[in-house]
Structure formats: C-alpha cells, structure tokens
Symmetry: C2
Subunit: 499 residues, 2 copies
C-alpha cells in the first residue's frame, strides 16, 4: 500500500499534541475574513455559526470594522477580548505571513488559542511554490505556538450536538444523531451531508470533518478520536487514498471492534484512480489491496452514496441482528419476489418459521395468503388489514428462527400508509418491553404516497426504507458486522446463521 | 425455457381477434360494481376515470341505483343507452354466471361491446375449482361474443394521452409521455408507476397495462401492439415468467429493433423463483436462459426499480448517443472521481478531447482547473462561474471524440443550482440549432437543495439525474442499444467507440 503524497505532507507531527476535543468544543471562535459579502466564505462561516446556535463567543474580524449580521466587527485578533480557542482563517492564502504573526502573538500574549481552521485554498494543492511555502509556514507557526491546524484548503467542522458549524456549506441539516463523517474531499462530504438531510427524516449527523491538505491534523488522528467519542455510534469514511494508509486502516480496524466504520473508497477503477491522483494527489493504489485490508480489518465497504447513507442510518437506529436469517412479510406479491432476489444478491438467507409461527399466521391472515413459499416468506396479499399485519409481524419477530424482519408495504384501498404506520407505532413499544430487540425493516413502496407515513415512523425513532435494495444492503452490512463482533460458537454454524 | 402455467391458462386464442386499440380507445365505458363505498374497487375505478378526465361516456352500474359522484346509476348494463365499448367488472367472482349472461345479451342486442376488463380476484389464481370454472366461463362467454377479455384478477389499464384510467390505484400521475409499461404483477406495476410520479418531474407515462390471469389477452399480444403504437417511444416490461415465454421474447426482440424494451425480470435467484411460482404460478426458469435470451434479442435488462425508472426516462427524453465515449465535467473533485468509477463499472470509456477543445477549456476555466486528468475528464473546481461552465459544455459537446457528456454540479457559494439551470436553458436551444444532438446528463448532487433547479430543467424538457450511478446506468443502456441498432462499420472499432 503506497498512497503517498509528499506534496501534500509538508508538516511533521506537532511538538505538543493537543487533544482533539478542542476541534469540536472550542469555548470561543474568531473568524478572520468575516464579511458582509455573501459570496465570501467568511460570510457563510459566520452565518452558519449563528444559524447553528453556537453557544460560545463568536468574534468577527475584519480590518474595515463595522457590523456583520448584528455583531460588532473587531479590526484584528489582538482586539478580541474573550477566550478565543478556535481561529477560522477565511482569508486569501497570500495573507499567510500576516496570519502566522497573528497566531504567534496570540499564543504569546493570551495563551488561549488551541485550534486554527484554515478553510481557504491556494496552498500546496495548487502545485505552486508560493502555496507550498505558505502552507509550510502556517504549519510551522501553529506547531511552535502549540496550536493544532485543520486544513488548509478544507471545508471545516460541524458538531450538531455542540451546535458548531465552521463550514461555508449551505443546507446542511442540524439534526444531531449518532453518525460522524470523516471526508477526504470537501465536496464529497458536502454531497453526503446534504443527501442525509434529504431523507424523509435526516440521518442524524453527529460530527462532520473535512481535513483538506492535512498539514497537521490527519485522518488517522481523527479516526482515533471518533473511536473514543461516546456520542458517535457509527463512522462514515470517504477516502481517495491517504499518505498514511496503513496507519489509517489499522486505526479504523481498531475502532471497528467497538463501532461500525463504513467506507466509501473511490479511485477503484483505472480512470477513477487517475482522477483521484489529480484531485487530492492521492495514489489510490491497487483497489484489490484496499479491498483486502477493509475485509481484514472489519471495515464495511460500500460503492454507492445511497447505500452509504442507508447503512449508516440503519446502524444509528436499529439493534444489531444476531445473524442474517431474514423473514419477509409483504402485502404485494411482485415486490415480495423482487425483495427475495435482492436479499439473495446480498448473500442473505431466509429464516425458518416454527410450527407455532405458522399456526399464528394461518389463523390471522386472509385465506388466500401464501405462507412459507418459500419458508420465511409471507405474501399476506393486498386484502390484509393493518391490524392483522401487526399480529403477523409480532409472531414472526418472536420466532427464534428469524434474526431480522422485512415488512414490505404498498398502500391499498383497504389500508393507507398512515393507517399502517399508526398500527405499527402501537405495536412496537410492547415488543420492546418483551426484549424482542430484533431489527425491523419497514419498506414503504411507492414514492410520494408514503412520505407522510415514513415521517410518522421516523419521527418516532423507527427507521424506514424506500426500496428493498436499500434495506437489503443495510441488513447485510449489519449482519456481517454483528457476526464479526460475535462469531457464532463452534458448532453453531449448523443452525443456519451463516452469511 | 419452460415457464408454463396451465393453471392460469384456461382459454385458447379468441375466435375473432379484435384489434387491441379498443383496450385503450373505448368510446364508452360501463362499470359493473360502481359504488359509493371508497374501499370498493368499483368506487376507485369510477373516481379515476373522472379524475383522468376520460372524454367518452361513463356509465355507473349498480342494482341499488341512486347517484355516485354526481353521475346517475344504471340498474343494469341493458339500461345503459350510449355505446358501451368497454365493460369493467368490479364485482365479486361469484357473480360470474350473471355477468356472462349480461355480456351475451349485450352482444346480441346492441353489438357495441368490444372489451371486458375483469379487475376482481377470486378466479383461477385461488387454486380452487369454483374460481377456475368462473374464469373459464367468463373467457368462453367473451370468446363467443367476440369480445376481448383483460384479466381477470388484474389492475386494469391506463392511457394518459386518451385520459383513460380503469385501475383502482391511487396516486398515479397523469403526465403523458413516451413510456408504456406492461406488468405481470399489478402491485409491481403500481409501485413502478408511483415511483415514476415521485421523480422531480414525473416520467412520462403513455400506457400502463397489468393483465392478471391472462385468460384471453396476454403479454405477447400487448407487446406487439405497443411495438406498433407510434406514441410509445420505449417499453418497460416487468416479468416473472410467462406461459408463452419464447413467443414473448421473440415479439419483444422484434419490437426492440424499432424501440427500446427495458426488462425487469424477477425470480432471478432460487428463493425469488420459488416465490414467483407461488405468486403468479410462473416457473421463473433458469435465470441464465432468460439472460441469454435477453442479450440475444437485444432487450435491456435491469435489476433495480430505480435503474428501470431512470433508463426509461432517459430513452424518452434524450437522443441516442453514437457510441459510449463520455466526457465528464464537474465542479467538485470527489464526486468527479466517484463518477469515473461508476462509468467504468458500466463499461463506459472516457472520450478524448481534441486540441481545439483543450484550447477552449484552458482559455475559459479557472487557472486551477484540472483538464484532461485523465483525458475526457475536467475538474472545473468550485470557483467556476455558471457562464464559464456553459462555454466548457458547449466546446465538449462539439468535440467529435465525445459521444455523451456528464455535467456534475454541486451548489456553491458562487453558483446556485438555479443560476446554473438558467444558464443551461439559455445554452441548449442554440446547440440544438447547430444539430449538436448528443445526450447531455446533468447530474445535480445534494438532495433538497437542487430540487427547484431540477424541476426548472425538467419542465423545459431537459432530463436531470440525482446521482452519477443512475446517470451511468442510463447512458450504458442507451449506448448499448444504439450500438446494436447501428453497429459501427467494419474497421470503425479502431476509433474507440467500443462498449
């Protein structure tokens, strides 16, 4: 594995490593380059901090003074009184000589600065001598001042729990959850974060960090930090290639022993790899080497942004299955067949119903329902009532031969999606009380017509899925992760919990 | 290939075949079982015909009389005066003896009836003797009366151009377009039709038909009809297995010489095949046999509903490419790399820029843009203006080394999605005037934030895409179809237009 990019790696390790908590928990933030001009990054950073409701002190800095968004503007960093633990540089790269002096002065006089976030471009990524020198000088000044440097040429940081947003992105949602995203590409991270916000209910974003040129803080350190961070339940990693690829994969592998790490690694193909090299200077490396390392370290790899989004959301909200044996209950025949294909494509097997389950299903469902053709699959038919669906669901969830349940639903003239959602919300608390903590995948087919029902369920903490393909990808990832964390006892493979 | 289902096939060929135009162009429709009860199919059929704005005579039939939705109710079919070319049976299967008499009487006295659409279930699909006999009797009566029978146990028909909707589905959109959908499963057809309606602008639905038990009209005949239908530009086929599989594939193959046929065939896997048999009685057959037949006959196979939707929409709205050489222009590096991987996965190659194109790109784009790394790929960077994007697009579309263009866009603080859409709408008419009729794939990343821009473009007839994966699947299908219809001349393979 040789994804080295010396061009991007001018700095060594910092002299005095500061805990990365400061990245996400600064007591006060100053923005150099704050501006009234909405096309300037410094404007958007300030707007985002205010919109997020950042609880600490915010200081806008601009030599021209005046006011921005109702805040007084300080002419320089020296004039800012309160504790400034984070300085956001939203200024042109050519001001670096001045900025390094500002950082040194603040460290000498006030000793409050802990982190510099340099969001502007024009540094080593340009391939030009000036840019490389400015980046080296900035890193050097931060090292000497005992200050950590994020970037330069990065999008910045978000912490939805701490209401921090130092990015210049627009439209990122503020719904705090258990998923943290570490992205090598700012735009890719932005795309993902925005896709998460476009779900029926946003995928809960905990922290977002895009590191840019990584002159100091790199992905290895952040991965280790997120592994220790108790509020992060699952980690999404977008990767093109890393100069410390082996260290990153080792760190991620250790984290994956405690919480799932889902990786979207691009540059998989020849032409993609060429473009990745041109983009972040990353040598993407032979994809087979990465693939092997992901498998060995227990990382979960996806190739599509939609799968990445769905899998992370499922890890955040669903209990882990004990195995991969799935039952499928559907009120629509064709979509049921489609789903069995999608599950088989993911290597998932159907569960086996106990005689007790079969008896309940036979007594509950309409006469023409097809139960157990094949075993583990129930076509309840379109005529089934929402209440009978719930009785069937409860019996299947209780069956020890079933690790997870898919519930496919298409609205019919007998049962609206909202009726079904209401019945499900009455059923689930009782099941949880009886410790039936198996993952349930409600798949609500048919676009706009089920949007309201999906929101009802999601707002109540029940994740929903828009297609069998997405749900199958999520269950497969969860089952594989669960099996790796808790492999079946010797001999237990015979009970069919294979994957 | 042996997908036989004698259980479902009680009828022979009709004695006097009536042209299938009557299915979609009846002058008058009567609904037996019309009802004020919204849970009854007969209510929904009437509501759909009214909502669609069906231009012919609509007659509600119910022995109880009264009014439904402001229409007078006739006590029986004999009382309906105007021409009744289509009779929709929304009555229980057990009324079949009475219905067969009604059909015979109308044929004897008025001679206007051409089609019976039997949407109710309870026939041969139940596997019970009564149901099978009723189906046979109904088919027999229709044959003797010279009337075509659709169903029984079907969802019915939609023709958005003729404003016909005899289904009991809710939420199907009414936007007429070039795509016709032939579905073996009613619920699957409903799912697809509803997904089409949930796109930023609905995929244009021309005709929809779900044939149920196929006691008379079967998929072969409808496929041939849709092949002849000038308003149908592309055909979607959902298939589990067909008793005349060979004839269906031959018919579809002939149609595919004139217009694309996109197939979603389920029962691909062991467990899916078992469920398909239980669902429609179809013996799904070894998937490899179907796969071979699809390839041989030039049908386009997809495995996912989202791909099916996107590919059909692209065929409806985009010109066919002359080959598979694609250029990728992006304002975001990471998503560009991701897209090159997605294209390679689909077997698509990058085009090669001419020196003239390189010169224009170099003169137009920002200094830090990455042009041709690899060849055919341009990272315009986030700082590019909408106007410069359009100049770059125009030069790449003109390049003879490029068959199709992907334009990836993520909103930035410099350029909103709406700005970009406005500029594109100014550019495209001029390009069309100069006969540059190459397919352009605008891929607008980032969920909610680009919804309005996608609608602006789509309303103006410019298809848009929400992910590189979807766009790559569409281009690959189009390029393969184009190559099959017009294979390159001998020796032309050397110019790189391979797939």
């Amino acid at each position: 594995v040789t994804p080295l990019d010396t061009k991007m790696a001018p700095g060594g390790k910092p002299i005095a490593p500061v805990a990365l908590d400061s990245l996400f928990r600064p007591r006060g933030i100053a923005i150099a380059g704050a501006s009234n001009d909405p096309t300037k990054p410094g404007h958007q950073v300030l707007a985002n901090l205010l919109e997020a409701g950042f609880p600490g002190h915010i200081a806008a800095i601009n030599p021209r003074g005046g006011q921005i968004a109702g805040l007084p503007v300080y002419p320089d960093l020296a004039s800012v009184p309160g504790p400034v633990e984070m300085l956001v540089l939203a200024v042109p790269a050519k001001t670096t000589p001045e900025m390094t002096q500002v950082i040194r002065d603040r460290a000498r006089t006030r000793r409050d600065l802990k982190v510099v976030v340099a969001i502007g471009g024009g540094f080593a990524e340009t391939g030009e001598a000036d840019g490389a020198r400015w980046q080296e000088d900035l890193a050097q000044a931060c090292r000497e001042a005992g200050v950590r440097l994020v970037g330069p040429n990065c999008v910045g940081l978000i912490d939805n729990r701490y209401r921090l947003d130092t990015t210049f992105l627009t439209g990122v949602h503020r719904r705090a959850g258990g998923i943290s995203l570490l992205s090598q590409s700012g735009a890719m991270g932005a795309w993902m974060a925005l896709e998460w916000g476009a779900q029926p209910v946003p995928v809960g974003l905990n922290k977002f960090i895009s590191l840019g040129n990584m002159a100091d803080v790199d992905m290895v350190e952040v991965m280790e930090y997120l592994g220790r961070d108790n509020s992060t339940r699952a980690i999404g990693l977008y990767l093109e290639g890393h100069r410390r690829a082996r260290a990153l994969l080792e760190a991620a592998g250790k984290v994956a022993e405690r919480k799932p790490v889902v990786v979207l690694k691009v540059g998989r193909t020849g032409q993609g790899s060429d473009a990745a090299h041109s983009h972040t200077g990353a040598l993407a490396g032979a994809d087979a080497i990465y693939a092997g390392a992901f498998a060995q370290t227990g990382l979960i790899r996806t190739q599509r942004v939609d799968d990445f989004t769905t899998i992370l959301g499922a890890f955040d909200k669903l209990p882990l299955p004990l195995g991969g044996r799935v039952a499928v209950l559907t009120n629509a025949g064709g979509p049921g067949v489609y789903t069995l294909d999608a599950l088989a494509d993911q290597g998932l097997e159907l569960g086996q119903f106990s005689p007790a389950t079969r008896a309940v299903l036979g007594a509950t469902l309409p006469a023409f329902a097809s139960i157990g053709h094949p075993d583990g699959h129930v076509d309840m038919t379109g005529g089934v009532s929402a209440r009978h669906v719930m009785q069937a669901l409860a019996s299947v969830l209780r069956d020890p031969g079933v690790d997870a349940v898919f519930h496919l639903f298409i609205p019919t003239k007998f049962t609206s999606a909202e009726d079904m959602a209401r019945e499900m919300l009455m059923l689930l608390p009782g099941l949880k009380r009886h410790s039936l903590d198996k993952p349930l995948f409600p798949v609500l087919l048919a676009g706009h017509g089920v949007a309201q029902a999906r929101r009802m369920l999601e707002e109540a903490g029940v994740p929903t899925f828009g297609s069998p393909d997405q749900a199958a990808a999520a269950l497969a990832a969860m089952a594989r992760y669960a099996m790796r964390r808790q492999p079946p006892a010797i001999g237990a493979a015979a009970d069919g919990r294979g994957l």
